[in-house]
């Protein structure tokens, strides 16, 4: 008895090799299908990094200008902070600051005096935000040197000030001019200071540029009648992972004097809480984006497989088993998904890193707003974004091939051949 004829292809088809040959057989079709995956993967990576950049921008701007990672204030200050009450303050900085700075989790403790003032050029008054800071220690935080547009930084012990560029423009003041600052003291008396404008600031935060007056801490203390005191001490974590728990660590290790309170930036509510909501909303948006990217892949893959119904019918007529046929088509989808995702990942990463380096200037859109947000968005690339995009490309490519493959194998070979 002769042995039955064995078709090596039919018996044990080398699926991977066959699938690879199939993808190369029609280069135009493969490129078309693959390009959908490339674009989708690259777009997902860029959008994820851009979204992460926006969130980081807002959180950083808020931490650097408003909250730190933890903030020590007078008891009740945070509930009234929109009034900037100077009478609720942090006294005894001479003892408090060294103690805070010696804590291993604290990278820096920055005293600031924040108050609502009137800035006067002798002809007009404009409401402004006065901030007294320790210029030397603010480097890398509020970073006055980086904000400096023209002129130079005010010097401690001198009646000098640096103005937001927008405020300086409105008052028609330039370095060398005199400015009168009218405000309140911690005793709620009127306070005043005549200073020389030494420089203008471009912080990148629109509302600050329109209203900020930066003073040496000692001059702000003089204006507010707050010797050895500040309205707040901002604490920054040495380790990024300890940002959220810094307030708890400080409370445990450093007894906070009476009538003071320390609060985590996560407890400050409004804006960061809003960011959590926004993060959820952006997550939903990204799911839709990824679904759209997936649909593009599905659509292209579907067309590519359906147009091969006749070819698949022929393979079935030649004896290729249904399971093998399905695996063959899905493997082709996987190959295209992998290749497309890899190229898309490289492309998306490249764009994200490049834009992340140069930034996207949104200052025109932010002008006039009081939202603490830097005027340049830097997309924040992370390897997990590549994993998400690649997973999307590969999984969608394979799944998208499954349906037309199932449809093709359900047809009788003769019917498939007629199509």
């Amino acid at each position: 008895m002769s042995e039955p004829l064995k078709d090596p292809v039919v018996a044990r088809p080398p699926l991977l090799g066959l699938a690879w040959r199939n993808t190369l057989r029609n280069v135009r079709r493969t490129l078309l299908t693959g390009s959908a995956v490339v674009v989708a993967a690259a777009a997902v990576i860029f959008m994820l990094s851009y979204t992460r950049g926006i969130i980081a921008n807002v959180e950083d701007a808020y931490a650097l200008t408003e909250s730190g990672h933890a903030r020590i204030t007078g008891e009740g200050y945070l509930d009234r902070q929109r009034f900037m009450p100077l009478y609720l303050n942090v006294p005894g900085l001479g003892e408090l600051l060294p103690s805070l700075r010696s804590h291993p989790a604290v990278a820096e403790a920055l005293p600031r005096i924040r108050s609502a003032v009137l800035a006067s050029n002798d002809e007009m008054n404009i409401g402004a935000l006065s901030m007294g800071v320790d210029f030397a220690r603010e480097e890398g935080y509020l970073d006055p040197q980086r904000m400096l547009g023209e002129g130079q930084l005010p010097r401690p012990g001198r009646a000098e000030a640096m103005l937001g560029a927008g405020l300086a423009g409105k008052l028609g003041l330039a370095p060398g001019d005199s400015l009168t600052i009218l405000g309140q003291t911690a005793w709620r008396s009127f306070g005043g200071l005549r200073v020389e404008v030494t420089g203008t600031a471009r912080s990148g935060v629109a509302y600050l540029d329109a209203s900020l007056i930066l003073l040496p801490l000692d001059q702000a203390q003089l204006l507010a009648d707050l010797p050895d005191a500040a309205t707040e001490v901002l604490l920054f974590a040495r380790d990024k992972e300890q940002r959220d728990e810094l307030a708890s660590l400080i409370s445990l290790d450093r007894p906070i004097p009476e009538r003071l309170e320390v609060r985590s930036w996560r407890q400050e509510g409004t804006l960061l809480g809003l960011m959590d909501v926004a993060r959820a909303a952006w997550g939903f948006f990204l799911v839709i984006l990824m679904a759209m990217a997936g649909l593009i892949i599905v659509n292209t893959m579907l067309m590519a497989v359906l147009e091969r119904t006749r070819e698949l019918g022929m393979l079935a007529a030649m004896g290729l088993r249904r399971g093998s046929l399905i695996r063959l088509v899905v493997t082709e989808g996987l190959i295209i998904g992998l290749l497309g995702s890899a190229i898309g990942a490289v492309l998306g990463t490249g764009v994200a890193l490049w834009v992340g380096a140069v930034g996207i200037d949104i200052s025109a859109a932010m002008e006039g707003t009081e939202f603490p947000m830097g005027s340049v968005i830097y997309p924040d690339w992370h390897w997990t974004q590549v994993a998400v995009a690649a997973g999307l490309g590969v999984a969608t490519g394979a799944l998208a091939a499954l349906y037309p493959a199932l449809r093709a194998v359900k047809l009788a070979p003769a019917e498939a051949l007629r199509r």
Binding site: R188, S189, F190, D225
Partner: protein
Amino acid sequence: MTSRQPRTPSAPLFGLLFAAAAAATVIPGTVVAQEVREPTEILPRGDVQQVNDPAEILRRVDANLTFSTAWTRARMTIHYRAGDVRTLEFESWASGETRSFLEFTAPARDAGSRFLRLEGVMWYYLPRVGKSVRIQGHMLRQGLMGSDFSLGDATENPRLVEAYDAVVEADSTLDGRPVRVLYLTARTDDVSYASRRAWVDTERWVPLREERYARGGRLLVSVALGDVRQVAGRWYPFRVEMDNALQTDTRTVLETVELRLDLDVPERYFTLRHLEGGS
């Protein structure tokens, strides 16, 4: 140059910061160089029941608490709920209803701070800045040197009988004094307080207590007046304690240390030049 001021009645002292000279305590023996003027009629107790017209009561209050010119040296003590106490001293000159000048003399960090009120407009001189600033808008809601007396109170000085309609609510006693409780409703919108309730001493025609309300009926200010003494034929509350409901962590006591009434006040006192340190 000095000039004699016309004898136009000034604002009611009650409620006026710049008229603190007369609204604060006069320490016996310190009242000097005041001119003699017609004393306000001091009604015997038996006459109390005869004054039922609330407008007449306000007229008597106004008559007691108005003057043509005044100079005062006063002490303002701000008590903070946290336990801190801050004491400031000042001198003030007032002429007529519309002009007054005030200069803080202590403590050292506030010495030289000056206020000038002219025709309802207020100016403030900051010695550290070396220039004067017109105070307007929301700044008028701030307390004078952080006290419970608002600058708005200082710029507004209506004669009660002209600015308010009054009704008698009750007769009572307050700290052993017979009082008539009046409820005052503002006739126009251009006064700081839409309504007031005043406990008026019916023998001396001086309010001993007052509550001032916003339009919606919210209590804005509580005032207690005490140590009422007769000076130059008038009854004055020489100690005024103010509690501003908008500034919940303080209360302010104003005491007059020295008072002169109806004296010659140089015209130059009420000029921006004088405010800024010129002669």
